[in-house]
C-alpha cells in the first residue's frame, strides 16, 4: 500500500514539475554582446591572443578589419617547430579570408607525428585542428584510437572536451561512437546549483568549451546531444551570468558557446524579454516583446502566441491563443483592445516555428495601468447630535473649495468621494487613499486613511473631539489634501481639496511644536551598581567568631584531662622534618587564603608535601617498628608473667 502511495505522489509531483519548464534567468543583452566584441577586438600582442581575437570574433560573425595586417602578424610570429604555434596560426588564418600559411614537409611530419598515444590530448587536438585547417590529410582512425587512449589516461574534464572538439574535425566515416558517449559522461559530471545553474567545478571556461565542443561534434555526426531542455537552459544561465570576463580565453570560450547555441541543428534556446517595462495603458496599448537567440539576434522565423492571459486577482481568462505581430524585429500585441481592467495579468506565451527552440514557453506578468478620476467629492460638516442637517459642498477636481469649513468639538467633518477609471467608469480601489491635514502655521501634519464601503464609495470622517491627541489639541486652519496612489495608476493625485478650521476645547499643548527629533542626545542613563549586601554589625560578628573558636579551648582541656603528653617525642631528623613540613603546609594554607592562587599553591604544596611525605613515611615506619616491638615485648610478658598489661601504648603522641 505505501509504495503505491509513494509512487502516485511522485507521479503527481513529476507532472507538476514538468509543466513548469525552466526559462533562462541570465542572458546576454545587446550591450553585453557589444562588450564581448570589444574584449575580443583588443589589439593582440602575441599569436595566442591573435588566435583568440580573430577566431572569437569570427564566431560572433564579425570579421577583422585589417585582414592583411593580421595575416602578416600571424606569419611573422609563427614558430614552425611548435605544434601550439602552428595550431594558433592555422586556425586564425582560416578565419581570415585569403590568408595562407606556408606549409613544409617538416611541418606536416611534425603534426602527423604528434598524433599518437604519447602526446597529451591537448597536443593531439592542436595538431589535428592545424592539419584540418591547413587542408592536410590525416588518418582519422589513428586519431580516434589515440584519443581513446588519452581519454582513459587523462580522466579530466578539459582533456575530454578537447577530445570532443578534435573528433568534430575527423571524417564522418570514422568510428566516433565511443567519443560521442563521452558527452553524456561529461554532462553527468556537471554540478547542479540550486536547479538554476549547471557548470563544471573547473569553472566557466570549461563549461562554455564543453557546450561548444558537444554541439560541434553532435552537428558533425548529426546525432542529438544527450542534454535535456532544462539542462540546456541551466547551461545558458551558467555561461551567460558573467558579464565581464577576466581573460581573453574566457571571452573566447563564451563567444564559442554563444555561437554554437545560436546556430546548431538541435537546440536553440530562446530568450524572451519585454521591451521596456511589461506594462500597457491607453496611451501605450501595445505589449512589445523581443524574441532572440542567445546572441541577441532576433528570431525572424518564430511566431509568438499568447496561449492564455488571466488576471492575477480574479483568475478570469482574458485572452486565449492570440498571436503577436512582428514589426521592425519586435513582436507586439494590442492588449488594450481586449479592454482589460487595470491590474496585473499573467501571460503564458509560446514561441513556435522551429523544432529546435528550447525554453519556448514563457510566463510573463503584465501590468495594465489606467488613469483615475475623482467623482462626487462631497464635503460636509455634521453636527454630532444631528439636530442641524449637514451642509454638503461639492468640489470638482482640481479646484479647491472656496469657503473653508469650520468644525469644533460638537461637529464632525465628513468627506465622501468615488474613484473611477477615467475611460471605462469602473470603480477603483487603489492601494493608497490618504487624507492629509497640514497646519500651515506650525508645520504639523496628520494623515488619515479613507476607507471604501461595500459599494466602493470612499468615506472619511473626522471627529474633532476623538482625534484631538493626533492634533495635540492645536486649533487653527488646516489645509486638507487628498492623496491617491497605486502601482497601476498613471496619474497619482495630490489635491488640496479645502481648508478646514478646527477648534479644540482645551488647549493644553505648548504654543510652538517641536519637531519630533530623533537624533538629539537622549537623557543619560545612570547605571545603578549592585548594592553591597547589608552586613551584620561588627559586634555580632566578633561575638560569633569567639563562640566558634571556643570549642578549641574545650578540646585542649579535655586532652589535658585525658593525659595527652609529648613524652614519646623522639628527636630523630625525620620527626623534626615531618613536623616542620606539616607546619609549613598549614602556613601555606593561610598564605593561599591571603595571597596566592591555586596554581602557585599547588606548586609549593608539591614541594613541601613531598618532603613531608618522605619524612612522615620514615617516622611512621619507625613508630610501627616500635609498636610491634612493644607488642612482642608485652606478649612475652603476658606469656611469661601472666600479667594483664594494657594493650597499646599508654602514652599518646601528639602529631
Amino acid at each position: 500500500m505505501y509504495p503505491f502511495e509513494g509512487l502516485f505522489s511522485l507521479l503527481v509531483l513529476s507532472l507538476v514539475l514538468e509543466t513548469q519548464a525552466l526559462t533562462p534567468t541570465h542572458h546576454l543583452t545587446t550591450t553585453d554582446v557589444a562588450r564581448l566584441q570589444a574584449v575580443l577586438s583588443q589589439p593582440f600582442t602575441d599569436l595566442k591572443s591573435a588566435y583568440y581575437s580573430v577566431v572569437g570574433l569570427s564566431k560572433l560573425g564579425i570579421f577583422v578589419a585589417d585582414a592583411d595586417e593580421t595575416c602578416r602578424f600571424i606569419n611573422s610570429n609563427l614558430d614552425p617547430s611548435s605544434v601550439e604555434s602552428l595550431f594558433y596560426a592555422a586556425e586564425a588564418s582560416q578565419a581570415l579570408s585569403g590568408c595562407e600559411i606556408p606549409v613544409t614537409n617538416d611541418t606536416r611530419d611534425l603534426l602527423l607525428a604528434t598524433v599518437s598515444e604519447d602526446s597529451t590530448a591537448s597536443q593531439i587536438h592542436q595538431s589535428v585542428s592545424a592539419l584540418s585547417a591547413l587542408g592536410l590529410p590525416l588518418a582519422s582512425q589513428e586519431v580516434v584510437s589515440a584519443l581513446k587512449a588519452r581519454i582513459s589516461k587523462e580522466d579530466n574534464v578539459l582533456a575530454i572536451i578537447l577530445a570532443l572538439q578534435t573528433a568534430s574535425r575527423l571524417s564522418q566515416q570514422a568510428e566516433l561512437g565511443e567519443i560521442l558517449e563521452e558527452i553524456e559522461d561529461l554532462a553527468a559530471r556537471l554540478d547542479d546549483l540550486g536547479g538554476v545553474y549547471l557548470q563544471f567545478e573547473e569553472g566557466l571556461e570549461a563549461t562554455a568549451l564543453f557546450v561548444s565542443a558537444a554541439y560541434s561534434l553532435s552537428d558533425h555526426v548529426d546525432m542529438e546531444p544527450p542534454l535535456k531542455e532544462d539542462q540546456v537552459i541551466q547551461l545558458v544561465n551558467s555561461i551567460f551570468s558573467k558579464k565581464s570576463w577576466d581573460s581573453l580565453s574566457e571571452a573566447f570560450s563564451v563567444a564559442s558557446a554563444a555561437a554554437s547555441l545560436s546556430n546548431n541543428r538541435f537546440h536553440v534556446p530562446v530568450i524572451v524579454s519585454a521591451q521596456g517595462p511589461a506594462a500597457v495603458s491607453h496611451s501605450h496599448p501595445f505589449l512589445q516583446l523581443q524574441v532572440t537567440d542567445v546572441l541577441c539576434q532576433p528570431l525572424s522565423s518564430a511566431s509568438v502566441l499568447v496561449e492564455s492571459a488571466s488576471a492575477v486577482a480574479s483568475k478570469s481568462a482574458i485572452l486565449s491563443q492570440a498571436p503577436f505581430t512582428l514589426r521592425d524585429g519586435v513582436f507586439e500585441l494590442n492588449f488594450m483592445a481586449s479592454q482589460p481592467a487595470s491590474g496585473y495579468y499573467q501571460f503564458s506565451v509560446a514561441i513556435t516555428g522551429d523544432s529546435r527552440f528550447v525554453a519556448n514557453h514563457v510566463e510573463l506578468k503584465v501590468k495594465v495601468s489606467t488613469r483615475v478620476a475623482i467623482n462626487n467629492m462631497d464635503l460636509s460638516v455634521v453636527d454630532k447630535d444631528q439636530s442641524i442637517g449637514p451642509k454638503t459642498t461639492r468640489v470638482e477636481y482640481p479646484t479647491k473649495a472656496k469657503a473653508s469649513f469650520m468644525a469644533d468639538s460638537h461637529q464632525n467633518f465628513a468627506m465622501t468621494f468615488q474613484l473611477v477609471d477615467e475611460t471605462t467608469g469602473v470603480e477603483l480601489t487603489p492601494h493608497q487613499t490618504f487624507v492629509r491635514l497640514h497646519n500651515q502655521k506650525t508645520g504639523q501634519e496628520v494623515v488619515f486613511v479613507a476607507e471604501p464601503d461595500s459599494k466602493n464609495l470612499y468615506k472619511f470622517e473626522l471627529d474633532t473631539a476623538e482625534r484631538k491627541t493626533e492634533f495635540d489639541s492645536i486649533s487653527g486652519t488646516y489645509a486638507l489634501y487628498l492623496m491617491v496612489g497605486d502601482a497601476t495608476l498613471e496619474n497619482p493625485i495630490l489635491w488640496n481639496v479645502a481648508d478646514v478650521v478646527l477648534k479644540f476645547l482645551d488647549e493644553e499643548a505648548p504654543g510652538t511644536i517641536q519637531a519630533k527629533t530623533l537624533y538629539v542626545p537622549k537623557p543619560e542613563i545612570q547605571h545603578l551598581f549592585r548594592e553591597p549586601e547589608k552586613k551584620p554589625p561588627t559586634v555580632v560578628s566578633n561575638a560569633f567568631t569567639a563562640l566558634v573558636l571556643s570549642p578549641f579551648l574545650l578540646l585542649l582541656i579535655l586532652w589535658f584531662k585525658l593525659g595527652a603528653n609529648i613524652s614519646n617525642f623522639t628527636l630523630s631528623p625525620s620527626t623534626i622534618l615531618f613536623h616542620i613540613g606539616h607546619a609549613a603546609m598549614l602556613g601555606l594554607m593561610y598564605v593561599y587564603w591571603t595571597h596566592l592562587n591555586m596554581f602557585q599553591t599547588l606548586k609549593y604544596l608539591a614541594i613541601i608535601g613531598s618532603l613531608t611525605f618522605l619524612a612522615g613515611n620514615r617516622m611512621l615506619a619507625q613508630k610501627a617498628v616500635k609498636r610491634s616491638a612493644h607488642i612482642v615485648f608485652s606478649f612475652n610478658l603476658k606469656c611469661g608473667g601472666g600479667f594483664f598489661s594494657s594493650p597499646g601504648l599508654n602514652s599518646i603522641q601528639i602529631n
Binding site: P536, L547, G616, P647, G648
Partner: protein
C-alpha cells in the same frame, strides 16, 4: 520509662569510661570539638544570615569533612576492628588521615574567599 533511659545512659557512660582505650578517647574529644565548631557556625548562619554564603559553606564543609575523616581514623585505629583492616596499620591510617585533610583544606581555603 525515663528511668530505663537514664539507666541505659549511665550504663553506657560507665562502659565508655572503662573499656575505651585512651587513644580513642582523644579522638572522641577531637570529634566533639569539630561538632561544636560546626554547630556554632550553623547557628550563626541561622541567626544572623547567610551573607558570605560561600564562606559559610566552606567552613561548614570543613567541619563535616574533618568529622568524617576523624571517624574514619577512629574506626581504622580501633583494635577491636583489626580483623576488618588487616592491610591497614594505624600508621597508614594516620597518613591517609593527613593526606585527606590536605586535600580537604585546599578545597576549603579555595572556597572560603
Amino acid at each position: 520509662m525515663s528511668n530505663s533511659v537514664f539507666s541505659v545512659i549511665s550504663r553506657f557512660v560507665e562502659e565508655y569510661r572503662s573499656s575505651t582505650p585512651n587513644k580513642l578517647k582523644m579522638i572522641d574529644a577531637y570529634l566533639l570539638y569539630i561538632l561544636l565548631t560546626g554547630v556554632f557556625q550553623f547557628l550563626y548562619c541561622v541567626l544572623v544570615g547567610t551573607f558570605p554564603f560561600n564562606s559559610f559553606l566552606s567552613g561548614f564543609i570543613s567541619c563535616v569533612g574533618s568529622f568524617i575523616l576523624a571517624v574514619c581514623l577512629r574506626i581504622q585505629i580501633n583494635p577491636q576492628n583489626k580483623r576488618d583492616f588487616l592491610t591497614v596499620s594505624p600508621e597508614r591510617a594516620f597518613a591517609d588521615f593527613l593526606f585527606a585533610h590536605t586535600v580537604l583544606h585546599l578545597v576549603v581555603v579555595n572556597f572560603v574567599g
